[in-house]
Symmetry: C2
Subunit: 343 residues, 2 copies
DNA sequence: AACGTCACCGCAATCGTTTGCAGTTGGTTT
DNA sequence: AAACCAACTGCAAACGATTGCGGTGACGTT
């Protein structure tokens, strides 16, 4: 073979025994003499034998590999999730294969196909922004195929999910702004087909309601792409009327917040004196910008760990036996920095 | 089978032909009647047949999967590289499996082992900070196993590499500072066992030399960890003497630069008026901080594409035939922002 | 009638590993 | 001496797909 990797057959030939014996000797099966075991193990060691994982996969219809489907690795949040996933996967002898969808449904579907034909043992998925039809997941779930959803939740029954409490995170963030004395709070929201966007918006609305503030519909604007540029433009537009403008912004995530901050500075408005601002996700840069951005931190690493652990559990329960619906919700943490502290 | 995935055998049984015939029919081999081909294809379609990639790997000793080894996904640079890699891999029908080393040599080695036992077709590697001994790569290369190194280059002969021109990037950056009128330039360097760190330092030194400026040894400080905190402390220390302090900093990368900026602000120094600063890598946040950071942008996506393309070439040349040494060096680009423009 | 040709298809081995079952020893028991 | 039981070990099928080689039958040709 290409790599000269020794196989069980090589060991068997050399030792004049059958491959069955070698296989059993290596795994300390009873019924193999200590003498043979010793010889086999020694030679295996000497030849630097490693079992061929592919042959194993074929035999066992199990690959010890889990597939991760995410929109984009460049998102700080997702890359921390990946780290969490890898950590527990590795610790349990599983490999991780990664597919970015770039927010494209077609890419999501084809990734699933190729991963399936690679006998993947289960999926960890945060689906694309384009995904509104979940039948490709439904089919697999009905067959008892293990899937754990994280961050973004599908509109399906009986799924196993790991998310953060977006509602509460948003609620806390907005309440904090209100406590600081801001009253005219705008919301730059995320794409409304995503559950997380809806939840954050709800949290925003309820926090206002709870403080007796009536929300201004014009000040709730969707940022479908979530780019810096987009929110720069939207914010500039939002603040163009000096007579009646917001005095604070709750942004769907930090990039959006950063774009807004640049727009505000550009307009000569001071943060946090004139306008307070809070983001979401605690991106890496959030503490480094000026002023440092108050944000809601999501425990990405923990999400990855949890999701991974749940998936491995599902993989290791006997098939046929279906798993119960589960909804793990992890707490967010409000990181108060300068951008929202008036005094 | 678990997923009810149809196999060639299922089709064969249903149609009362042999699996050989099905296999050949599906691939339009000559010597199969059009009638049979039609029937096979129809049924395959109906059963939603997908070839079992694992069985194929075993048969062909080829998995159509490439392994990527990087220090950490959370680095913006690496995640853009990954995107580039995935793009061309996917376009060519290859899968990507990802392993983070977290800068640990042991993790690097074990990842390689498990990937090898998964019949991986080749490696794309940016090795860990701990890696100073390259025999684990050397062994594979000697066996004709395809590896492309990127960003960080090993001390080995005849490897295929993709990097950016760190020397020139640094040289340009420092020359720019000098043009802006800065004269007392410090360098917060990277770990000196990495080639890139050395190259950037050389570029720094040569730019000074070329301008007739003698470097101050005390102002070249290594930041082995490259964290914000580390460079904050180092910078604070570096500027503690008001009598004789630098008037500019060339940082090994943007995080280091950001830490330095915070230290400077903390000391009441203005950027760029009192101190100019340039980073490296164009991290995502660099344009969002205040002032926006001048930096040397590395074409991460392109690096990924190039490396991936080279690797696929190597994989597809007949084995036994060794590949020639190659050193692709991509150009950096100096992004001039406010942090280094005096006027 | 005997032979050759051609189109079409199946057998069986192969990749590396696992595993139910059966076989071969040697020794012990009646 | 026949029977029996351990203790070891090997055979062969299986996972799913590929492929060299050989086989079958229907024709046409002499």
């Amino acid at each position: 073979m290409k790599l000269g990797q020794a196989t069980i057959k090589d060991i068997a030939r050399e030792l004049n025994v059958s491959s069955s014996t070698v296989s059993r000797a290596l795994k300390d099966y009873p019924g193999i003499s200590d003498e043979t075991k010793r010889k086999v193990k020694e030679l295996a060691d000497k030849l630097n034998y490693r079992p061929n994982a592919v042959a194993l996969s074929l035999r066992k219809s199990k690959s010890f590999t889990i597939g991760v489907i995410i929109p984009e690795v460049v998102h700080f949040f997702f890359s921390t999730v990946i780290s969490g996933i890898e950590e527990v996967a590795f610790a349990n002898g599983y490999n991780v294969i990664l597919c970015q969808t770039n927010e494209k449904l077609s890419r999501e579907q084809s990734s699933i196909e190729t991963m399936l034909s690679n006998q993947i043992d289960g999926f960890l998925v945060s689906f694309s922004r384009e995904t509104t039809d979940f039948t490709h997941f439904k089919k697999l779930l009905d067959l008892g195929f293990p899937i754990v959803f994280f961050d973004r939740l599908p509109e399906l029954e009986n799924t196993v999910n790991v998310t953060v409490d977006d509602y509460k995170g948003a609620y806390d963030a907005v309440s904090h702004l209100i406590e600081q004395g801001y009253k005219k709070i705008a919301h730059l929201s995320g794409p409304q087909n995503l559950n997380i966007s809806k939840k954050r918006k709800e949290g925003f609305l309820d926090a206002l309601k709870n403080a007796g503030i009536k929300p201004e519909p014009d000040w709730i604007i969707e940022c479908p792409y979530g780019t810096e540029k987009e929110s720069f433009d939207i914010t500039t537009e939002l603040f163009k009327n000096p007579e009646n403008r917001p005095d604070a912004i709750f942004a769907h995530h930090d990039i959006v917040a950063a774009g807004a901050m640049m727009a505000l500075k550009n307009l000569g408005l001071r943060i946090p004196e004139d306008v307070g601002i809070v983001g979401f996700s605690n991106w890496q840069f959030s503490s480094m910008i000026d002023p440092p951005l108050t944000t809601v931190s999501q425990p990405g690493f923990k999400i990855g760990e949890q999701a991974s652990r749940l998936l491995l559990e599902m993989i290791n329960t006997k098939k046929g036996q279906s798993w119960e619906q589960k909804n793990i919700v992890l707490d967010t943490e409000l990181l108060i920095r300068k951008s929202s502290v008036k005094v």
